[in-house]
Structure formats: structure tokens, C-alpha cells
């Protein structure tokens, strides 16, 4: 029974993805969407990949990481080197970007074994800055002035990378491995006592998360003509973090929705140059004040449609309590 259900939802999701893809592709081919809208779509898709990959690290595994821009930049630069310096195919560059970032994830996963909470946060922030400063000092990739990159990211590439990212992370999360990660988030000591190799899963979360951030990096660098170390500072990490938290920590669909909404808000605010950041920051503050648990809390969007068998204890989390 369970098995059939899982199979079914798996294929329903894939079919839904194909339909979305086809519609947008049709609009693009029919020139019904101009370049600006296409670019906005690509920005959204890249942000979704980033949000979902960080969601695995923070939302699922509970590792407070604020250096995601580090993985993004490693992916972006590695991919750019593959296409621009070595003249190899774009597809390969995405893969290499992912792998390079995953290796970095492995390395930064190691301090995570000893550090917790805010200390881990600052260490990962430091990691992001170290990556940025290193790039700044490598002349091969242009140092501070950056590196020109051809525009190769197209809608199909971006879209299917996003679908794969979501599928992999959803499938990982909804398995015993994902539950192991969640148990670390919930209570590391108990997880350990239940025989979960917490070291392994923490590092694994970093590696998988970093891999997809790296892929996003490849898409990113091939979409914006130029990459510079300056674009990958901690503010970029914060932007990604904001998607995850605003969507609801632990909710994948929440991260996706937040990434879409905030990308649109940000594009929209370009028209209000004097006040854009003031408005943006107000939006942030107000959202957090009125929905501190994020847009979806810890729930997934699907649970709003399903009644009955809810695994989230529905009404119980109306208000945070004093206890």
C-alpha cells in the first residue's frame, strides 16, 4: 500500500514538472516571454536550488550554516573554468562545479563535528569569507576584477537541475537517512544513543547540500556574464539563509515558495531605487514578527491539501509557549 502510494506521488510530481516545463518552454519558443522575464525565471530557479540545498543542511539536519555563498562561488568558478579556460562542455561544468563544492562541503563538514549552534555559524561564515578571499587572490580567475563567462544557462538546463535537486533532496529526506538527519536536529545526544552515526550524516548533509549549491553556481556563472568574488560575500549567504528561514525551517516547499516570492519582490523593487532596501528590510522584519515560524512553519505545502492523516499535529502549534 505504502509502496504504491510513494510510487504514485513520485510519478505525479515528475509529470507535474514536465507540464510546467513544457508550458514555459512553449512561452519562450513562442516569444511570449521576453528576455527580462526569462532571466527572472532563471534567477528564481537558481535561488530555489540554493534554498533547497541549504534547507537540507539547516532545516533538516539542524546544522546552522551561514556560509552557503562559499559553496555557490566554488561551483560558479569551477564551472566557469571548465567552459571558459578549458573549453569543455557546459554539462560537464555543472557536474564539476557540484563536485568541487561537495569536496568543500566535506571539508567544512569536519568542524561541524565539534562545533554547535552559533559557533558553527560563525565558522561557516568564516569559511565563506575564506573562499571569497582566496578567489580574490587567484589571478588565474581574474582576482578582484572577476572572470567573464559566456551565457550558456538556458531554461531547460536550469529547470531540470532544479527538478533533480528537489527530487534528490525530497527522496533523501523521506527515507531513513533523512529521518536520521532530522533526529540529529531534534536531539543529537538521543540520536547518537539510538545508533545514528551523527558524524556521517552531518557531513553527508553538508556534502549533498554543497553539491547542489555548486551546481547552482555553475548555472549562476553562466547566466550573468561575469563573476566576481565580491558577489559571494556573507550578504549573499544571508540572502539564501533568509529563503530557508522565511519559508519555514524544515519545510522544503516553504523554502521554494520563499525563494520565488523574495526573488520576485527583489526584482520588483528594482523600480524603487531610493527605497528598495528599506522596503525589503521592512518586509523581512514584519514577516518575521508576524510569522516567526516562517511561511509554512515546519509543514509542507501538501499537508494543507491533505486532511486526516496529518503528521504535523495540526492545531497544536498555534502559539509558542512560555514553557
Amino acid at each position: 500500500m505504502q509502496k504504491i502510494k510513494q510510487f504514485k506521488s513520485f510519478y505525479i510530481n515528475i509529470i507535474a514538472a514536465i507540464i510546467v516545463f513544457a508550458i514555459v518552454q512553449f512561452l519562450i519558443s513562442g516569444q511570449l516571454l521576453n528576455d527580462f522575464y526569462i532571466n527572472t525565471l532563471l534567477v528564481i530557479v537558481i535561488n530555489i536550488i540554493l534554498a533547497v540545498s541549504l534547507h537540507l543542511i539547516i532545516g533538516i539536519t539542524g546544522q546552522f550554516s551561514i556560509g552557503h555563498a562559499g559553496f555557490l562561488s566554488i561551483g560558479a568558478y569551477s564551472a566557469a573554468i571548465i567552459t571558459m579556460k578549458l573549453q569543455l562542455p557546459f554539462a560537464l561544468s555543472l557536474l564539476v562545479g557540484g563536485i568541487a563544492a561537495a569536496i568543500a562541503g566535506l571539508i567544512i563538514g569536519i568542524p561541524s563535528l565539534r562545533l554547535k549552534g552559533d559557533y558553527l555559524a560563525i565558522a561557516t561564515l568564516g569559511f565563506g569569507e575564506i573562499v571569497r578571499i582566496t578567489l580574490l587572490n587567484i589571478d588565474y580567475v581574474g582576482g578582484a576584477s572577476g572572470m567573464m563567462v559566456d551565457n550558456l544557462t538556458t531554461w531547460p538546463w536550469a529547470f531540470w537541475c532544479m527538478v533533480i535537486t528537489i527530487l534528490v533532496i525530497v527522496n533523501f529526506t523521506n527515507s531513513t537517512h533523512g529521518r536520521a538527519c532530522i533526529s540529529i536536529r531534534e536531539n543529537e545526544i538521543a540520536a547518537d544513543a539510538m545508533g545514528i552515526n551523527t558524524t556521517y550524516y552531518k557531513v553527508m548533509a553538508f556534502v549533498i547540500g554543497a553539491f547542489f549549491a555548486g551546481v547552482a553556481g555553475g548555472l549562476y556563472s553562466h547566466n550573468f556574464y561575469i563573476i566576481m568574488p565580491g558577489s559571494f560575500g556573507f550578504m549573499k549567504s544571508f540572502d539564501i539563509l533568509i529563503f530557508v528561514v522565511l519559508g519555514g525551517l524544515g519545510s522544503l516547499s516553504g523554502s521554494v515558495i520563499a525563494a520565488i516570492l523574495l526573488s520576485i519582490v527583489s526584482t520588483f523593487l528594482q523600480d524603487y531605487p531610493e527605497t528598495r532596501m528599506v522596503i525589503y528590510s521592512l518586509v523581512l522584519i514584519l514577516m518575521m514578527i508576524f510569522r516567526p515560524q516562517g511561511l509554512l512553519g515546519t509543514k509542507e505545502i501538501t499537508s494543507f491539501f491533505k486532511k486526516g492523516k496529518s503528521s504535523d499535529g495540526g492545531k497544536h502549534d498555534g502559539k509558542q509557549t512560555v514553557a
Binding site: M194, G195, H316
Partner: protein, 259 residues
């Protein structure tokens, strides 16, 4: 005979925090299938002793042997896989996970499907997950928790949380089960139910149980043998009636008369 096989042997084990010898020089032997009590005043080092057994702390002296194999210095998850599982004095459930998932996590060590099979949704993933679910539900049935499978753990009433913790510990399929004050915060009536439950699972799963408890009714009622710890040292060992009348224990722990 199976029954008399030595399961756990603790030789001169101890641990020091800074200057404080929280546990020192303890020698404990537990045979397969026994139900043992560990009592002692507050701060005697009982929980710390559990922490030594489960690898939360590595002993600074002595040895801990499970079925003759040394456990010293192993990380907790490895010790769990070798067959020691526990509950905590202050409940440590996975609060945001459902009751069912709490138990599934504990069964994780026994699952065989790899990360790749889960990511690609290969057949082993489905068989593995199904087996886990069935097993987990079986455990929950024993504890009468199968009515709350999809409730978040944190939303359970206290008594049920305690039982869920025991169910979860059982799901790792341990040889030795350590219970740290399982009856704390329960009224006498609930305590009695718990006593029966502990006896029942011991029989059913062929378990060895070591439990810490301050409720003498429970300890004297179910334990076959009792160790008494005071100031980090074992001061007595024996059957409930021996312990009840041991002057040292009375002085340090029980007080004048026991009801």
C-alpha cells in the same frame, strides 16, 4: 546455560570531572536476562554510570566489557549497535518527529537500504522502509502507543512520552536496556503499570535490564538484584531484601523505615 552467561562486566571503571570523582572503582557484573536495579542518593553518580556504559563519557579508568568485548572509548552510536540502549532521565525524544518516526529512527541501525537506493527510489528502499514501518508499529503496539502514530512526540502527555522513550530504546534491538528513572513523575498507579510493562518486555525480548529508580516500590518490586552507589562508589550489592536491611544503605539512602 544461556541464562548464566555474563553479559556486562565493568572492571574498576570510573570517571573524573575536573577534581570530582563522579564515579570511581566500580565493579559490576550482569548476567544475561537479569533485571537489575541501581539506586543511590541524588548525585551519587548513577546517571554518570549510565553515561559511561553508553559512551557519552569515556571512562578515565577501568574497563567496560560487553560479552567480553571492550567498549571503552567507543562513540555512543557504536555502543548502541553493539547492543546497549537507554532512556534518559530528562526525556529526550525527537520532539518534532511523529511517534512512529521516533521509533523508525531507532530502527535505522537495522535498516539495510543505502542512501543511493533511497535517492533513486530503488526497490531496496521500498522493502526497507516497509519493514521498518511494520517493525516500528509492532513496538508501539506493545506500549499501547499505536493510536498516536502520526502525533508529534512533543504533543504526547508525559507518561506516554516516557513509554515512547522505552519503545524507542527497544527498537534498536539491544541486549542490555538501561532505564534512567522511568517512573519519575508518575503516580503510584501509573508506576505499577510500568512495572508490569518492564517485566513483560524483558520476557518477550529476552532482555537484560538495568534500571535507576528512586521509587522503592518499583525497585524492590521488580528487581532481582540491586547495586547501591554512593559518592561514586558501590556501597552494596544484593537482593532487594538484603539491600532493604543493609545499614549502610539505610543510612545513605533509604532512611529509617521503608514503607
Amino acid at each position: 546455560m544461556m541464562e548464566n552467561k555474563l553479559l556486562l562486566k565493568v572492571e574498576n571503571a570510573g570517571i573524573q570531572f575536573g577534581g570530582l570523582k563522579a564515579v570511581s572503582n566500580t565493579n559490576v557484573e550482569i548476567k544475561k536476562g537479569e533485571l537489575i536495579g541501581l539506586i543511590g542518593p541524588n548525585g551519587a553518580g548513577k546517571t554518570t554510570f549510565f553515561n559511561l556504559l553508553t559512551g557519552v563519557y569515556a571512562p578515565t579508568e577501568g574497563n567496560i566489557l560487553l560479552e567480553g568485548k571492550r567498549l571503552n572509548g567507543l562513540p555512543p552510536y557504536k555502543i548502541t549497535r553493539k547492543g546497549i540502549s537507554r532512556t534518559f532521565q530528562n526525556i529526550r525524544l525527537f520532539n518534532e518527529l511523529s511517534v512512529l518516526d521516533n521509533v523508525k529512527v531507532a530502527y535505522h541501525t537495522n535498516s539495510k537500504h543505502s542512501i543511493l537506493s533511497s535517492i533513486f527510489r530503488l526497490p531496496p528502499h521500498f522493502t526497507g522502509e516497509r519493514e521498518m514501518e511494520e517493525k516500528a508499529i509492532d513496538f508501539l503496539k506493545i506500549f499501547n502507543l499505536d493510536g498516536f502514530l502520526y502525533e508529534k512526540a512533543k504533543n504526547l502527555p508525559y507518561g506516554q512520552q516516557r513509554r515512547l522513550e522505552i519503545a524507542r530504546a527497544l527498537a534498536t534491538q539491544p541486549k542490555l536496556l538501561l532505564l534512567d528513572e522511568p517512573a519519575a513523575g508518575m503516580n503510584p498507579n501509573e508506576t505499577e503499570e510500568l512495572m508490569n510493562l518492564i517485566s513483560f518486555i524483558r520476557e518477550k525480548f529476552d532482555l537484560t535490564v538495568l534500571l535507576i529508580e528512586h521509587d522503592m516500590q518499583l525497585v524492590m518490586g521488580v528487581c532481582e538484584r540491586i547495586y547501591v552507589l554512593d559518592h561514586g562508589q558501590l556501597i552494596a550489592e544484593g537482593s532487594p531484601s538484603e539491600i532493604r536491611n543493609n545499614p549502610k544503605v539505610i543510612e545513605a539512602y533509604l532512611g529509617e523505615e521503608v514503607s
